[in-house]
Amino acid sequence: MARAISTRRKIGFTILAWGIGLVIFFPILWTFLTSFKPEGQAIAIPPRFFDFDWTLANYETVQSRSNYFRHFSNSVISAVGSTLLGLLIAIPAAWAMAFSPTKRTKDVLMWMLSTKMLPAVGVLVPIYLIFRDLRLLDTHLGIIVVLTMINLPIIIWMLFTYFKEIPVDILEAARMDGASLRQEVVHVLTPMAVPGIASTLLLNIILAWNEAFWTLNLTTTNAAPLTAFIASYSSPEGLFWAKLSAASMMAIAPILIMGWFSQKQLVRGLTFGAVK
């Protein structure tokens, strides 16, 4: 009997899990389907699931009207650039806080996180002015710097939790063997924390790729990433949902594929240290 109940529960949970999975996945599926619809059918009521006139016209229009590859390469430069710069700053910071904590370490961590609590638009004008004066508006460097700044607290927090899981004895043993500080961080700590660093890196690339407020507000043409590419397909007067969906699919495809292939690392990294 007990076995029967557990099977039933298993089935129940499986259905529930699939149901939740589908709900989460649905917007992407809907965008995907809409991108193949003619404009008129894209916002038809009642909505059409599969019985519409499939067309590739939207992709053709988007291809011919925008320079996808310029936006794509801008996205890659800003996402990868800001992630690498962020890791470069965050690894030593997290190392210091994990292995040489002071009385104030917790407060420092909280303070870092608190910078995320201010709505971005609140600092738009000051940052815009600073960027204007430093001539950083619409530049890759400007976007890399600002994306690094906004994601830095998260990178430090993530790395800090991973580093905490590494036994301090191992580092001490390395020190006993005469390893310098640099050697300790580069040759002992970093290899042990690779899963954690990898998942931080992946997550941060995804966050930077999807960031839409700063990338839209601080760029015009030269550094405009895929977020600007998507934003250009909404129209106040004229049907646009199908073309917008096609543009969205093209913008999220690279990151979706990357996420798919690195799923293992992502999950391993995110659950790293969860089970002792």
Binding site: E39, G40, I43, A44, I45, R65, I77, G81, L84, L85, L88, L124, V125, Y128, L129, R132, R135, L137, D138, T139, H140, L141, I144, L216, N217, T220, T221, N222, A224, A228, A231, S232, Y233, S234, S235, P236, E237, G238, L239, F240, W241
Partner: protein, 437 residues
């Protein structure tokens, strides 16, 4: 090393871009059909003048936010931008726009339709050049009217519209007598409701800037709207904006649709519209005896921010894109039906255009009838037709729009919605210092 090369690379790229800027203009615009056509034809401008163009197309609200930030801080990122009839007087008064005083000798400014020119002129100077303009009118299904034995008068009244909409409605066959905007937003439902209230004798503010939602006119207007949409509107109307209604009308689900005149070219295009051959047009309704057709006027226009480094070249481009010659170029390439409408009187004297655009006469009549300096039959302290041209209106209009959208959805009774709108508006105006003098 890698990082260093990335940084050096980015810096040199920026330097290159800055060096090239003297010969190029950055143009911010929205993704409307006429603007996309302009982008397509703009290579010719570059060929003629050697000035390269960089296009930034953004969602309307993002564009407004982006451009406002840039102008207010003097960022100088844009040389030409697409703005509307709402922004032009406000931004010009702030000193944010460069006056268009150098559009060239060939630019025939006297040919601009007076109401349109008026909407973009501040203290006698033109601050934006009209690219295309629109008023509001009725688009209706001639076949459904015939079936119901109705005839659209030349000058319809709201009373007639109410009766006709209810008579046409056939819910079993998903035909709704009337489709109107319900989606919340100062440029969405409030554009229609402000025009409706104007045509029923209402106004947003009295001479002392006191909001008028407690007036009998607004009461009548909002009750009329909610009752009519409940009886004869499509389901879920509170989330319908211009595009949603366009799709409904094109699918043959609306008996009447009152919206921007530019919609006429969409609903009469047989490629997109199932009802293209049975659309009629008429003036925006008025209340019996008032003779006020709502005074809706919107002008998508091109302006130069004062922070631009290339004011002369920018004006050269604006002159190219809004001149008579441009209309002829579009006609040659894409046919007269695709010419940006509503800006030049000469277009409406051109037989080729009148033949291609069956809605031309009604569009011109609607635009010419729009009085944006005195939109109500009562005295008003503001300008603007379907909006109030004060900086606070974006915020207030959207807040009130949400309240009225909830009333349409049946979540708030009409009386309560008007009371809330009155409070919200009063509070916001007080906060902005309108009652301190």
């Amino acid at each position: 090393m890698k990082l260093r090369s990335i940084i050096i690379g980015s810096v040199s790229l920026f330097a290159l871009a800055a060096g090239a800027q003297a010969q190029s203009l950055t143009i911010a615009t929205v993704n409307n059909g006429d603007m996309i056509r302009m982008q397509g034809l703009s290579d010719r401008f570059t060929e003629e003048t050697g000035i390269a163009l960089e296009w930034v197309t953004l969602e309307e609200n993002v564009l407004r936010q982006r451009v406002t930030t840039d102008i207010a801080t003097g960022g100088g990122q844009y040389d030409v931008m697409t703005i509307g009839a709402y922004e032009t007087p406000i931004w010009a008064a702030q000193g944010w726009l460069a006056p268009l005083d150098n559009l060239g000798d060939d630019y025939n400014a006297d040919d601009l339709i007076p109401a349109v020119r008026e909407a973009l002129t501040v203290d006698g100077s033109l601050y934006a050049a009209p690219f295309y303009a629109e008023s509001a009118m009725i688009m209706y299904r001639t076949d459904l009217f015939e079936e119901a034995g109705l005839e659209m008068p030349e000058q319809p009244t709201w009373e007639f519209i109410g009766e006709a909409a209810r008579a046409i409605t056939d819910r079993d066959n998903e035909v709704y007598g009337i489709c109107l905007r319900g989606k919340a937003g100062w440029g969405e439902n409030m554009a229609f409701l402000t025009a409706l209230s104007n045509s029923m004798g209402g106004r947003w503010f009295d001479e002392n800037w006191e909001p008028q939602f407690d007036s009998p006119e607004w009461n009548e207007a909002l009750n009329f709207y909610v009752d009519l949409m409940t009886d004869a509107g499509p389901p879920g109307a509170s989330s319908n904006g211009f595009n949603e209604n366009l799709a409904l009308f094109q699918q043959g689900k609306c008996g009447m649709w009152m919206d921007a005149t530019v919609a006429a070219s969409f609903v009469s295009n047989p490629d997109d519209s199932q009802v293209a051959d049975s659309v009629g047009y008429a003036m925006f309704p008025t209340k019996e005896g008032l003779d006020n057709n709502g005074n809706w006027l919107w002008v998508w226009s091109l302006a130069v921010p004062a922070s631009s480094q290339n004011v002369d070249e920018a004006q050269q481009f604006i002159s190219w894109a809004t001149d008579q010659a441009y209309l002829e170029m579009v006609a040659e390439e894409e046919g007269w039906a695709n010419v940006p409408p509503g800006t030049r009187t000469s277009l409406y004297q051109n037989q080729a255009y009148l033949d291609a655009a069956p809605f031309a006469d009604e569009t011109l009549a609607a635009i010419e009838a729009a009085n944006t300096t005195n939109s109500s039959v009562q005295e008003v302290p503001y300008s603007g037709g379907q909006f109030v041209a004060i900086p606070e209106f974006q915020g207030i209009g959207t807040a009130v729009g949400q309240i009225f959208s909830a009333a349409l959805a049946g979540q708030t009774p009409v009386d309560q919605a008007l009371e809330q709108a009155q409070q919200v508006t009063r509070m916001e105006m007080e906060r902005s210092g309108y009652y301190n003098q």
